[in-house]
């Protein structure tokens, strides 16, 4: 729509407390803004995002003083939505608004106050000129598909799926392993309550299986994701387990019948501390209770000469050696990613001797040793069959270390205390913890630390420099920073408290779902404080350790939060679509079709009859690539038209 009459731009400069005001001369800016062409009102306020600030905007619009709004405050990624709402509440199109980012782009990154003020003025000049070109249009909505996808069946995915299923939503839960349960199913006890991990987890796993609202696909991977918030199309590849899932009852008679009476390959469930047979179930409470054939280990896949006693043993005829991968295509409105974490590979710190000295273990290996269903039935037996008398626990392996990961993994202090308790309880061994700081922030955590101290576990404050072997014993070298001297402590067993890292395929998953990762590789939340489970891609949410290291209580809380966000979205029934979509002026379009090939989303079609291209604005994601390519200027992008950007440039450089 051509602009009817002169514009009346309201400029609102935010102090953001002292965040902006301490670096930018706000009064000078306001006086300057008032001189800009088209500006009818220029005001300042301490916190524009607060209600009184927003009401300033609304009132000015209602009073007829303003028909376009510029707020000079923080990043639009922070508060654009807030001020669009305020603009809309005043009674005009929410898109007659432009933000000038004078906090992240100016106040926080400029040392000199005069330079900051000049730069802020330029940005406001750009915004004023730009908003004068803005056009009025309304928000557009699409319906939300009521079904939901959860990726990852650890405690985060399980909890989120159950919450949503109990609210009556249909949930697809996709897990890459053959069973759900994740890391939590492999722990023995949980801190600080010392309840048995399986005892609190397996009932939830059974509920997943029993809930008619949950479709559980294990041994499956998400292959592709297309569509958009409210209407995603997802293809899931279900790998063959060579067992018919609908027929198998989990009786395990096939495993008993297998010609291999002992394990052949390292069992990843037990961190390679035991061997796995070619047909297996990860652990007794595996969910679904269905066996899996490992084609790498099963001799029939190589020789085709096995008499297949497993087939004969199965009364239900569930064995199916001809199974092929299956692709399922589903439509979902929202997606929760709960893909979890990976433990740090201790080989990356050679000085600690992991994989060189058999007496050096990772914490996850010791979890399996201590677990009643683990390779040693819960007894602390070392690789050489001996029982350790002296055990050292080395903290911060792959955490708080400039050479590996700078961040704190948050759980290692607490699980190390737990392991100290369990090791002492099971074996009577003497335990020494080598730590940098003990971090125990959490309900009952500090009390747990005190309890472990009183039990007699020893504590040495100092990062371990190396582990060596001398006269058949392991020696832990550390500088005791309390005594101020180097300690050499001989032990039988060293437990490396490995930190949490992103899954090795986190990068692929990130690209698949089109979300962001931080430098360390964990998925990025939309806002660290105020949108902790959302991502920058609408309709995709995060739960658990894929977003950053966290313990079980935090993971469950976050999974519940993600489920609540999804429920709110699904129950609302519609979502706003990207406003900044492209459109083509049929009168200007020359029919060259340059744009058609540019679009990565096949959103542009060409009508041979009229010789004009058109954009499907539901499919368009608003990148603007076609607009940049259009030689005739017929393609434009809402909120990013050529006119708007040229105006912004002029304002930036001349105003």
């Amino acid at each position: 729509m051509p602009n009817a009459g002169p514009v009346k731009v309201g400029v609102y400069v935010c102090h953001c407390g002292l965040n902006i005001a301490s670096k930018v001369d706000v009064s000078q800016m306001v006086a300057y803004a008032a001189t800009l062409p088209g500006v009818s009102v220029a005001r300042e306020y301490k916190f524009m995002c607060a209600d009184p600030g927003q009401e300033l905007i609304q009132q000015d619009i209602k009073d007829g003083l303003v028909d376009r709004v510029v707020v000079a405050s923080c990043s639009p990624l922070m508060h654009e939505a807030t001020f669009r709402r305020a603009t809309s509440a005043g009674g005009i199109s929410p898109f007659l608004f432009q933000m000038a980012n004078i906090r992240e782009d100016v106040a926080w990154v400029t040392d000199d106050r005069d330079a900051a003020t000049e730069k802020a003025k330029a940005l406001v000049g750009g915004a004023v000129r730009r908003v004068s070109e803005h056009e009025s249009f309304e928000r557009r909505y699409v319906p939300v598909h009521p079904e939901v996808l959860v990726v990852g069946g650890g405690i985060a995915g399980i909890h989120a799926a159950l919450v949503m299923a109990e609210a009556g939503k249909h949930v697809y839960l996709v897990e890459k392993e053959a069973t759900i349960g994740g890391h939590m199913a492999r722990f023995d006890k949980t801190f600080p309550t010392l309840d048995c991990s399986a005892c609190i987890l397996t009932p939830k796993m059974s509920s997943v299986r029993a809930n008619p609202n949950i479709t559980l696909w294990t041994y499956s991977d998400v292959e592709s994701v297309s569509g958009f918030s409210g209407d995603f199309v997802v293809r899931v590849r279900r790998r063959p387990r060579y067992v018919n899932e609908d027929l198998c009852t989990g009786c395990l008679s096939c495993i008993d019948a297998c010609i291999y009476k002992r394990g052949r390959t390292d069992d990843p469930w037990n961190e390679g501390l035991s061997k796995r047979r070619p047909i297996y179930m990860a652990f007794p409470q595996a969910t679904p209770s269905v066996v899996v054939v490992d084609p790498e280990a099963c001799v029939d896949f190589r020789t085709h000469k096995c008499p297949r006693p497993c087939v004969d043993a199965c009364e239900r005829n569930a064995m199916d050696f001809d199974q092929k991968p299956r692709i399922e295509q589903i439509k979902v409105g929202a997606i929760i990613l709960a893909t979890g974490f990976h433990t740090f590979d201790a080989r990356r710190i050679p000085a600690y001797g992991y994989d060189r000295y058999p007496g050096v273990y990772t914490s996850l290996e010791v979890e399996r040793l201590l677990n009643a269903s683990g390779p040693t039935n819960g007894e602390l037996v070392m690789r050489d069959g001996s029982h350790p008398r002296r055990v050292a626990i080395v903290h911060c392996v792959g955490s708080r270390d400039a050479n590996t990961n700078a961040y704190c993994s948050r759980v290692c202090c607490m699980y190390s205390l737990k392991l100290a308790h369990l090791v002492r309880e099971r074996s009577g061994a003497e335990v020494t913890e080598f730590y940098i700081d003990l971090r125990t922030p959490g309900k009952g955590y500090e009390e747990f630390y005190e309890k472990i101290q009183k039990e007699g576990t020893r504590f040495v404050r100092g990062r371990v420099a190396q582990v060596t072997e001398e006269d058949g014993a392991l020696v832990v070298h550390a500088t005791d920073t309390i005594l101020g001297k180097v300690r050499r402590v001989p032990v039988d067993m060293v437990i490396l408290a490995v930190g949490m890292e992103p899954q090795p395929d986190a990068e692929d998953v990130r690209r698949l779902f089109n979300i962001g990762c931080g430098a360390e590789g964990f998925f990025t939340e939309r806002h660290p404080k105020l949108a902790p489970v959302s991502t920058f891609t609408d309709g995709i949410f995060l739960a658990g350790a894929c977003q950053g290291p966290k313990d079980i209580p935090d993971t469950v809380a976050q999974a519940g939060a993600a489920a609540a966000e999804v429920l709110a979205m699904v129950d609302r029934g519609s979502v706003e679509i990207e406003p900044a979509t492209a459109f083509i002026d049929a009168a200007v379009c020359s029919g060259c079709r340059t744009c058609v090939g540019m679009c990565p989303f096949s959103a542009i079609s060409f009508d041979a009859a009229t010789n004009v291209a058109t954009v499907n604005e539901v499919l368009c994601k608003g990148c603007g690539t076609c607009v940049a390519a259009c030689p005739s200027g017929a393609a434009q992008q809402r909120l990013f038209t050529d006119a708007e950007i040229f105006a912004e440039l002029e304002g930036l450089l001349y105003a």
Partner: protein
């Protein structure tokens, strides 16, 4: 009609800029227009802000949804309106929120660079960088580097770089009539 005052007053502005050569009196402070894609580089700039990583005040950020939206005319317009340099920031290859917009930007910039060379605009004045959302530090480094390079290079004087001021003015008039060919009509949906 939109206010085109800024457009028509351009030659005067430039004439004024050419007439008053005060670079000898005070150190030259360049102006750089930075086109940042909202998903990666703009977010990285926010991160630089959150981390209080101070960098040169020369940078003026224009947010685009994608570096693929970058019409080469935007770069030309920035230079024409007095920018001494233009920085383009997009997602790393393979990371584009829209799959491949950054590749489009890469190609357009390559083409544009050769064109700018013919106009006598030094290659250092146009820079394309892939900066992911987590690389706040890279925003700081790249902005500072570029500001420093341009300080050494001095202001962009389109008129004195091989072309006569009159030619430039004519060129601009012609250019104005192309790129803004009645934007109001062109953008009517």
């Amino acid at each position: 009609m939109p206010d085109t005052a800024g457009l028509v007053k351009l030659p005067e502005e430039m004439a004024a800029a050419l007439a008053t050569d005060d670079t000898a009196k005070q150190p030259f402070a360049p102006t750089i227009v930075a086109f940042f894609c909202t998903w990666c580089t703009y977010t990285a700039a926010d991160m630089a802000g959150l981390s209080r990583m101070a960098y040169s005040p020369a940078i003026r950020v224009v947010r685009l949804m994608c570096s693929g939206r970058l019409d080469p005319q935007f770069v030309v317009a920035a230079f024409r309106h007095g920018a001494d340099g233009v920085l383009i920031g997009g997602c790393h290859p393979g990371d584009c929120h829209y799959q491949e917009g950054n590749y489009k930007a890469l190609r357009r910039v390559a083409l544009l660079r050769s064109l700018l060379g013919q106009l006598g605009i030094e290659p250092q004045r146009l820079r394309l960088e892939w900066i992911s959302a987590s690389e706040g530090e890279k925003v700081q480094r790249v902005c500072n580097e570029m500001a420093e390079q341009l300080r050494e290079l001095g202001p962009l004087r389109l008129g004195s770089q091989g072309l006569q001021a009159e030619q430039v003015q004519n060129g601009h008039q012609e250019y104005l009539s192309i790129d803004t060919h009645d934007p109001v009509e062109a953008t009517t949906p």
